[in-house]
């Protein structure tokens, strides 16, 4: 009763795999094809380092957006990474096992919440809070950083827990048997042994933060300017593309694709660092 034999299954799966991969490749090529010629024509230096973004006048400097993306990502790291690592340490080293078994999948589920929901909460709760307690417009670099910091938590927590749990129990026992407290064991042995995995979790989280668009558009304010304080309104690279793509034509449209190329390169760099860190972890054992 075999409808398709072993060979048939293989062929079908291969076709599916190839079409998926070629779709990805095509998209990548398309973006590069649209964006790269613009960068050559306009000049890489002017494109990256000029602060003048005025498509109507043919000015395409994305420096403010680069700065904004870097700051927002940095802010997400400051808010999200310590919290995420602390939660991971608590769940893997202090919480009873059954609790971790319930909480970890729940946290991983948070990654499935659509980013527009995070953005909505940011607009309704966070921005008004910032406006009334710290001043400024509320929709700001600070709001973007905090929302992104929360959004990277599932990645940071989940991968950190995995790498902390991968530390052999015998290390912990050896440490405790020498009279160390639980906390001494954690920071002198466990964290050291799982350091590369924890770093990878943070970098992967940052990759997510750099590429995040919807939530950032909703909470960061979107003014094209180089921020002078955390309370300033900013526009990130992703927001810039999403906001203007619908009506952009000609040079303007190409400039947005070129912005995409810049993002693409940034995220590839981050992910490569993360996978090197993860590989270092696995090859140590």
């Amino acid at each position: 009763m075999k409808l398709v034999g072993e060979k048939g299954v293989r062929r079908i799966l291969m076709t599916v795999a190839f079409s998926a991969i070629s779709a990805l490749l095509l998209i990548t090529l398309f973006i590069i094809n649209e964006g790269l010629p613009f960068i050559f024509r306009y000049g890489l230096k002017d494109f990256l380092l000029s602060s003048d973004w005025n498509p109507a006048a043919g000015k395409f400097g994305i420096f403010p957006m680069i700065t904004a993306s870097l700051w927002v990502t940095f802010g997400a790291m400051i808010t999200g990474a310590p919290l995420g690592v602390a939660v991971a340490i608590f769940l893997s080293e202090y919480a009873p096992r059954p609790m971790m078994k319930v909480v970890k999948p729940t946290i991983e589920l948070l990654a499935a919440i659509p980013s527009v929901v995070y953005g909505f909460i940011g607009v309704m709760v966070l921005a008004p809070f910032i406006r009334s307690y710290f001043g400024g417009p509320g929709l700001s670099l600070l709001a973007g950083s905090i929302i992104l910091g929360i959004m990277i938590l599932p990645t940071v927590i989940s991968i950190s827990i995995d790498s902390i749990m991968a530390v052999p129990r015998s290390y912990r026992e050896g440490s405790l048997a020498l009279g160390a407290t639980t906390w001494q064991t954690i920071h002198m042995i466990t964290i050291k042994a799982s350091k590369s995995g924890i770093i990878a979790s943070i970098i992967l989280g940052l990759g997510r933060a750099v590429g995040e668009t919807m939530a950032v558009i909703m909470v960061a304010g979107n003014s094209v300017n180089i921020p002078h304080s955390a309370l300033d309104s900013v526009r990130t690279l992703t927001a810039n593309i999403a906001l203007e793509m619908s009506y952009a034509t000609g040079m303007h449209r190409q400039a947005l694709f070129a912005t995409g190329v810049v993002l693409f390169v940034g995220i590839i760099i981050l992910n490569s660092i993360a996978s090197v860190a993860l590989r270092k972890r696995t090859s140590k054992r």
Binding site: P96, R97, P168, S170, Y171, E173, G174, S175, L176, A177, L178, G179, A180, T181, Q184, M188, I189, K192, A193, K284
Partner: protein, 258 residues
Amino acid sequence: MANTMAEIKNKMRVEGLDLYYGKFHALTSVSMPVQENKITALIGPSGCGKSTLLRCLNRMNDLIPGTKVTGQVMLDDQDIYGQAMEVTDLRKRVGMVFQRPNPFPLSIYENVVYGLKVAGFRNRKMMDEVAERSLKGAWMWDYVKDKLDQSALELPLDQQQRLCIARLLAIEPEVILMDEPCSALDPIATMKVEELMLELAKNYTIVIVTHNMQQASRVSDYTGYMLLGKMIEFNDTRVIFTKPKEKLTEEYISGKYG
């Protein structure tokens, strides 16, 4: 024999000890003395509770959720399961060497001074001295003196186990517990560690778990034979191996069991 027993001081004393892993009754009313500056061996078939009993002596079983202990374990004149005993202090006084060598993924030097750092010492000169003394005490100074900054995980297995002994010597415990310390080592390395044990017994009280009866008879002064969570017989090693009082012991010694 009662005479000699009385002269030598009991460093530790287990009294009517019962241990449950959840519902599983792993130790039943175990009593045993641990005499100062002597080597006490625990023998018995696999799964009889030797490791469990050993881990009671420095409360490593506390780490296993669902473990319940009743009875007494005295260290000098203090009940180690009593209110007044800080478990971190206890483990500094009663140290442990594990079955599989478990050096930390740190340098050799950092491994040796780990216990000192944990205890709050920071003086580099003092730690250097202790490191050298401890590595010499574990008979590995000449082997590692030029590579103290190398990762401990790169050492061969027997040197790793000696490093685990050295890092214990650094905090000068009173009692050293060893759980089948040679089971991962080859015969020559095993002999070396046995010699080392005999040397250490001059200054330390040692309790060793072994499934190797020859090893027990070679190194120990006293031997306890355990079966199914009970202490069947505890006596002079010579008595246990030549004219045991219990029939079960005799059967095990003569190889009729396990």
